[in-house]
Each structure stands twice: as C-alpha cells, then as structure tokens.
C-alpha cells in the first residue's frame, strides 16, 4: 500500500470485516454515521459483531440498520432510546448492551486513541452504572475508573479527505468521528469528497491522516431523517436506497 494514497473501494473494505470483530462507529443519532460503510457492513454478512458507538440510531438510520439484523453480539452505547428494536433485542437477551454516559464514552474512545490507560471520574457515582467499574481511591476520595476503548475497525464519515487521510467534517456530523478514527486499529473513512494532498488547509484539518488506513468515496446519506418522515413515530423504514 502506498501510505500516501489510501483511496480504495467498498469491495476491499467488505473483505476486511470478520465475524466477532469489534467495530467502532462515528455518529450521533445517525448524523455523521457513514451510510455507505454501514451498507458495506450489512452486505459483508459478518455476524457476532461487537459495536461501540454513541447510540443505536433509528431502525432505518445509521447503525440501527445493522442492529436490527441481529448480527451484533454486543453494543456499548450511551442510549438506545431511538431504536426500539435494540431495546427488544436487549430484553430478549439477543444483544448485550452496556450503557455508558455519553461524554464518558467519547472520552473512553479518546483515551484509547491517544494511548493512555483510562481515566477517573465522579460521573455516575452511586448509580447502577457504577457497579461493574473499578473504584479507585485517590487522596481519600473515591472515583470510578473508566477503561480506554480500542477496536479492530473504526468507521468514520468525513466531509473531505485528502488521499493521505487528513479529514475535515461537516458541522454537527463531526461529533464522535475524530475519536473513532483515533481509537481504531484500522480506520476506514467514507468521505463525501476526496482531494489531492495539499488541498486541505493544514490549519483546518481535524484528524491528521496518520490515523487513517482506507478511504472510500461516499454518495451521502441514503436514509430519511426522523424529521423528514410523514409519521415521525414510525418504526418502519422508508425505502433506503
């Protein structure tokens, strides 16, 4: 591989995925989740996937599309409220869900992404979330230990990538994407636009290309947002492609 030209295609990416892998995904309610890579994951046929990301999307949006297929074994997320199917799978024992406060989850990704060994926080002390986490006493005060997160793959949605993998994002679609890019062992970027090296302002780059392994071109979102739906409470996916 030429380390300065990381552009590839979905077939290549599909061939990388494997059963039982841990997959980190960017996005917040589907905003910033790479739609082409979610479809690629679906098409790959892999199962028993361990997912880590902000939320379970909606049944027809973001990672929700994959979660509904019952091929995820576990999910670490901050909430699954917008995807009732995820809740049902959890209650049926088909999906193991670990809840993590939203900002703590992104910090755990960051901690893995910057090569640190986790951090301490008071967030969640005394609540149900505490009981599976180590308690550490520093200067007589107790804190919860939050472990770093890394993963086999990270999938990221960028507005622009250059061929080295320098990334910029679009408005609130940035969200958790930079930390997924940093935390994954193999980071795969779906970019709305791919430009030659030198075209991005070095000052504006959010994720330096050093973290990126593969880049594929995007065709943009291929789902309808909940606010675009005629019946906003609908659980039924509209035609998605």
């Amino acid at each position: 591989m030429n380390p300065f030209d990381k552009v590839t295609d979905y077939d290549k990416v599909r061939s990388l995925f494997f059963d039982g892998m841990t997959l980190l995904f960017g996005g917040f309610g589907g905003v910033g989740t790479p739609p082409g890579l979610v479809d690629c994951l679906i098409d790959s046929g892999v199962k028993d996937v361990n997912l880590i990301g902000n939320d379970a999307g909606f049944p027809w949006v973001g990672m929700g599309k994959f979660v509904c297929l019952e091929r995820a074994k576990s999910l670490i997320a901050s909430h699954i409220g917008s995807n009732p199917v995820a809740g049902e799978l959890m209650n049926q024992g088909k999906l193991k869900v670990e809840f993590c406060p939203q900002g703590i989850l992104v910090e755990r990704l960051r901690s893995g992404g910057v090569g640190l060994n986790g951090f301490l926080t008071e967030i969640g002390r005394g609540t149900k979330l505490e009981y599976e986490k180590p308690i550490v006493t520093i200067n007589g005060k107790e804190y919860m230990y939050e472990a770093p997160i890394t993963g086999d793959f990270g999938i990221v949605f960028a507005k622009k990538a250059d061929t080295f993998g320098n990334l910029i994002f679009d408005k609130t679609a940035r969200n958790t994407n930079p930390f997924v890019a940093m935390a994954a062992r193999t980071t795969i970027v779906e970019a709305e636009e791919i430009v030659p090296m030198g075209e991005l302002d070095p000052e504006a780059i959010i994720v330096p290309g050093i973290y990126v392994k593969h880049i594929v071109p995007s065709k943009g979102y291929n789902w309808k947002w909940v606010w675009e739906m005629p019946d906003k409470s609908s659980r039924n996916a509209p035609p998605s492609k």
């Binding site: 917040f28 309610g29 589907g30 905003v31 910033g32 902000n54 939320d55 997320a77 901050s78 909430h79 699954i80 409220g81 917008s82 809740g87 959890m90 209650n91 869900v97 809840f99 993590c100 406060p101 939203q102 900002g103 703590i104 992104v106 910090e107 960051r110 008071e122 967030i123 969640g124 002390r125 005394g126 609540t127 149900k128 979330l129 679009d170 408005k171 609130t172 679609a173 940035r174 969200n175 958790t176 994407n177 930079p178 930390f179 959010i206 979102y221 947002w225 909940v226 606010w227």
Partner: protein, 216 residues
Amino acid sequence: MGMGDARQVIAKRAALEVKDGMVVNLGIGIPSLVPDYLDPSIRVFFQAENGILGMGPTPTKNPDGNLSNAAGYPVSILPGGSYFDSAIAFGMIRRGCIDVSILGALQVSQQGDLANWIVPGKRVPGVGGAMELAYGARNLIALMTHCEKDGSPKIMKKCTLPITTYNCVKHIITEMAVFTVGDKLRLDEVMEGFSVQDIRNHTEADFELSEALGKN
C-alpha cells in the same frame, strides 16, 4: 389541564429562568419547548452535546441533516457560534461552563436526586448525556408534569426509579408549582389555578413554604 397544555405552561415558566448572556443546554422533551417562550430582547447561547454552541432556530427552509441538535432535529447557527467534537461538548458541560441546564425528569427527590434515564422493565432509553449535564451545570432545572397519568406523585421523599445523579437538581418546575432544592425542599410559586393544598395533595416530598407564600 391537558398534558399538552401542561407542557406549554411548564416551558413558559422555565423560560423566565433564562437570562441575558447565559449559556443554556436544553434536554429533549419539555425543555425543547422553552425557546418558544424566551424574551426576544435577551441574547442566549444554546449549547448541544453533539457539538454546537450558538444554536439558532429551526430553519424555515432547506434543513440540513448535518446541522442538528442533540435530538437530531435541524437547527441553525448564530453569529459567534462554533462546531466542535462531542468530547469538547461534554468537556464544557462537566467543567461547569453551562449556566443553566434544563432537563426533563421522571422523578425528583426532595434532596434534588434526579431520575430520568430508565424505567426498569419498561422504557430503556439509556443514560445519554443526562448524568454529565446534571453533574456539571451551575444551575439544573428539572421540568416535568407534576404527577403520573394515574395521579401518582413524581416529587418524592426518595426516588423509586434508578437515579441519574444525586443532589443535582436546583429547581423543579411543574404545571402546578415551582420548587427550590436547598437544605430542605421549598415551594416558591404556586401556578395559576392551583392552591398550596392542591400541591400538598399531589406531592410526596416534604416541603416548606417560601417566605412570600408563608405570609399568605
């Protein structure tokens, strides 16, 4: 009062707590109605935990799926606003940069314990950002209808639902009353159409009356 009316009454009263120059975070549900009732002469920066400061109103045309609030609905950005990642968004929240955080609640105890993330066996939305908003905000206002649909109280001696964060709520606003949490829970205001006795009848928590109310 219908549930819909009650929600509007609560949002309208909560809007009075938002002052010129504040940075405000609004939760989903009733809090999202608050901007409709703000004094148009004040300047407020709304922050959302997905990564935006300076959110403006819902765009009237061409909504952008990539410019949304934490609930995923389209918003706009005001001059002076900024985009950032969710780690910075929550960094601001934990660090105490949010002047007032207005959250929906399922139950609040007289000690200010907040329960708003899970109803065991029923609703499992997950904790989202509520724990950190509750932890970091300089002022945390909980909004909820005063009682469950079956009439059972939601302002409790002790919450029966799992706690989001202990001792965090500073004010409770319902369609019946406004409370302040201090050493003791204090009833500050009785909303139009209700009496102190109505509130006693529908509140499990012990509370005292504010000086102003005590005089009446």
